[in-house]
């Protein structure tokens, strides 16, 4: 009995849930403002959770009547999500203190959202999937609107909430159709049921399309991306960092599992949808970002573009595709952590950086920072020898393995277009004459510095020892 309880506690999600509650109680009952303590505590909790996921003890023991599933793919993405959360809490701590937004709930909201994402990745049942999505979304809605006295923040929270609720509704309707026509909510059962048929009937097709729309909203694929730039822009920078780094990873893992596990036999049906989403995201991400002057909007469009590439690997739907997606997601996370670590520490005339044009003259006043930004931008553009190139390279390997020649050519063309706006940032830092000499102020906290150094190290040095990540991702089973 005691042993059982002990074992249950060592299921990562349960551990995370319990300790998040403890953390919340601690924050509530401490007399002073406990923002520092809760954020340190949440980093600690997340570290322990990583350890537990890594040890992988509860795997065979509790999948709750196959509400959840367990595989190397799931664990890999769980660890990515946890790492992303840790990094984004660490890099944003000083920012929160800087703008005097130190509600102790913020790290706890991140914890609950992370919990939702872990459940989302692991879910093996329509119902658990829906609940997990809601858990992470609700935490994020609150987080987006956390700066109550700012109109922009409130607007972004409300916008995110309304559009998110709409997409959840669509998703739920799709679930109900799928359940109605297959008689099951379990992914494996649905898959087994579908394997008996050659064609999907109309109801199931509607169900599939609705679910795809809902999921496309979560990964912010075009044409369901409209919320992304606005929410990125409106939310406080540190919340945006969390949005950019973590939820995308979980949503990508979910869309992969849903397509490749549940509907694996109906590749033709869903691949058309994904194909369109992919091409539209790549091109809209590349073209719309050109006109942006706000760095957060630019990164929003850039993330839309990245999602387009990830979806190429999903269309490929082979082992190489899964490998490519995990490598790409890793590189995406690292690059976003690095760029946000810089954005969150860079002040222009005592205001945190917002406009790209404020970067003028950065290469004079802070040569190392501007060099780092350049490296991150080149990596995002997919220029070798940085990690971003290998992410794209594996994506195209997967696509060509599946003979998706046109899609790959469109992909590389979009990457050339997107190179333009990444280069524009380098141009502003290096080529333009600086007008605001001395007004740029880069003050980075110790923990952000460590996070930034680690991520830059990974971006630059991946090429020297790629096998570590590649061997892990090559053996992932979905």
């Amino acid at each position: 009995m005691l042993n059982n309880i002990f074992n249950i506690l060592f299921i990562p999600e349960i551990f995370l849930a319990c300790s998040s509650f403890l953390c919340l109680l601690f924050g509530l009952y401490s007399k002073k403002n406990a923002f520092r303590q809760t954020s340190n505590l949440s980093v600690f909790i997340l570290f322990l959770t990583i350890l537990i996921v890594y040890l992988d003890r509860g795997s065979n023991f509790a999948n709750y009547k196959s509400l959840f599933s367990n595989s190397s793919f799931i664990n890999f993405f769980k660890i990515l999500v946890l790492l992303g959360s840790i990094a984004s809490i660490l890099i944003s701590k000083d920012y929160f203190l800087g703008i005097k937004l130190k509600n102790f709930e913020i790290p706890i909201l991140f914890l609950f959202s992370t919990l939702g994402m872990m459940l989302m990745i692991a879910s093996n049942n329509l119902m658990s999937m829906y609940l997990a999505i809601e858990l992470q979304s609700l935490s994020l809605y609150v987080a987006a609107a956390i700066k109550r006295d700012s109109i922009l923040s409130a607007e972004s929270g409300v916008k995110y909430f309304i559009l998110g609720a709409l997409s959840s509704g669509i998703l739920l309707y799709g679930f109900s159709l799928i359940y109605g026509f297959t008689g099951s909510m379990n992914f494996d059962d649905i898959s087994f049921y579908l394997s008996k048929y050659d064609n999907l009937n109309l109801g199931l097709i509607f169900g599939l399309v609705f679910v795809m729309v809902g999921l496309a909203f979560k990964v912010s694929a075009v044409p369901f991306h409209m919320w992304t730039p606005d929410v990125y822009e409106g939310a406080p920078n540190s919340i945006t960092a969390f949005f950019a780094i973590v939820p995308k990873i979980a949503a990508v893992a979910l869309i992969y599992r849903f397509c490749l596990v549940t509907f694996e036999n109906f590749y033709l049906e869903w691949s058309q949808i994904i194909l369109f989403l992919s091409i539209a995201s790549m091109f809209l991400g590349a073209i719309a970002a050109i006109a942006q002057s706000n760095i957060k909007r630019l990164l929003a469009y850039s993330s839309i573009g990245h999602i387009g590439y990830i979806l190429i690997a999903l269309v490929a739907a082979n082992d190489d595709g899964i490998k490519a997606a995990s490598i790409y997601m890793f590189s995406y996370m690292i690059m976003n952590i690095a760029i946000f670590a810089i954005i969150l520490s860079l002040k222009v005339k005592n205001e945190y950086l917002i406009n790209i044009s404020d970067l003028k003259g950065l290469s004079k006043s802070n040569p190392i920072v501007s060099l780092s930004i350049s490296i991150i931008m080149l990596s995002m553009a997919g220029i070798p020898p940085f990690i971003g190139f290998f992410g794209k390279f594996y994506i195209f390997i997967a696509a060509i393995e599946q003979e998706l020649y046109v899609l790959s050519i469109l992909g590389v063309l979009a990457s050339v277009i997107s190179a333009f706006y990444y280069l524009r940032i380098i141009k502003i830092m290096y080529f333009d004459e600086s007008i605001n000499e001395g007004s740029l102020n880069f003050k980075i906290s110790f923990q952000s510095k460590i996070i930034l150094s680690i991520s830059l190290f990974l971006i630059i040095c991946f090429i020297f020892y790629p096998s570590l990540l590649i061997n892990i991702s090559a053996n992932l089973i979905i």
Partner: protein
Amino acid sequence: MIDWPLISVIIFLPLVGALIIIFIKEDESTSINIKWGALFTTIGTFILSLILWLQFDYSNPSYQYVEKFRWFDDFNFFYHVGVDGISLFMILLSTFLTPLCILASWNNIKKRVKEYMLAFLFLETVMIGMFAAIDILLFYIFFESVLIPMYLIIGIWGGNRRIYASFKFFLYTLLGSVLMLIGIIIMYRNTNSMSIEFLQGNYFSYNTQLFLWLAFFASFAVKIPMWPFHTWLPDAHVEAPTAGSVILAGVLLKMGGYGFIRFSVGMLPEATEFFIPLIMTLSIIAIIYTSLVALAQTDIKKLIAYSSVAHMGIVTIGIFLVNQQGLEGAMMQMISHGLVSAALFLCVGVIYDRMHTREIEFYGGLVQRMPLYATVFMIFMLGSVGLPGTSGFVGEFLVIIGAFKFSSYVVIGAAFGIILSAVYMLFLYKRIIFGTITNKKLEDILDIDAREKIILIPLAISVILLGIFPNLFLDPMRLSIETIITNYEIANAK
């Protein structure tokens, strides 16, 4: 033979130098240390690459000094470098020109000296690495990495329209090379290998070859550049600082020619056979059209830039003749053009440093004040025209001999281009150097100083050396070229 990894040392020595320079804090007094550091590194690299040449085994047609390590566990991607007769001189050209570039920028780069030197050292590493790579993905990584330092060099230290030029350069060449990436992946998928050596004997099906050929053509035709993909070149050349133009003309354009030899001719013989008429047409148009355009230029650098396109037309003709004379001629023309056009850009740099203009109108009668300058300029000008005894002659002559075996129309086109090149170069020389000084500002212009002599005289010597003893260069590359041609003929005889 040498039992230590000579090639890797040559590739990464500049990078090591760059890593040391990073830690020198830049201010007024230390910028000279940075320059010396960069100069020593590049000279050291050049000396090491001379060992490469001295120890080179002329009787071995395949790669030498090979180093091979497994790099990626999941697919056959190796760190695989080596040198054969074709890449040997490309590497030497890179290592020879880089120290000269550093010297040429000694005084005229005043802002951000450290970043400038870092960019050049990084550029040298990737250039050498690209020519030494035997693995196509490694080749690609170096090939694309070249864009980063070159973009910065044009954009930071360039002229008035530098931003436009740097973006055009970057995006244009990137567009070409990403298509090559698709080609490389398709090659890998078909053969499960990335080794250039292996792929040269491994023929793809005819349709695949056509597709791959076009993918590679997109990349190399932009890089070399061929008409009508050349429009980035005049902009990039004109806006780049002198040393940037030197590297651009001296080495980066050769990446295209090198790629054509290795990939198009070497790996895709049947498709090459199919596309030869296209290449010949484009090359002849390039030679005649760009020569005429060059004639009309008022900016010296732009004139030389267009002449580069014309000379590269001769190179592409030579490569796609796919016979011994043609390929040897193309190689000689590439080496010669690497030296001559680099030297011409340096010569322009000399007067630009003094007068800060490149308008031809401005000059005239320089021989009165700068006799030494007039002499070296003449050597390079004649080298560009292709006078017997200079390096330019050997390449053009061999290409024309080779072209006779193919078609006399091509010969007529190429020869016409050579005549035109004499016209615009001699006309340029006349307008700048000869006559009396009409512009008062030129009255007290100084002749070249010691530093400029150190830069220009080695180039002048090598231009003449190449013209008088071409075998010095032709012998090492002969067997490698023969291998490619035999390969090509076997494939097309099938």
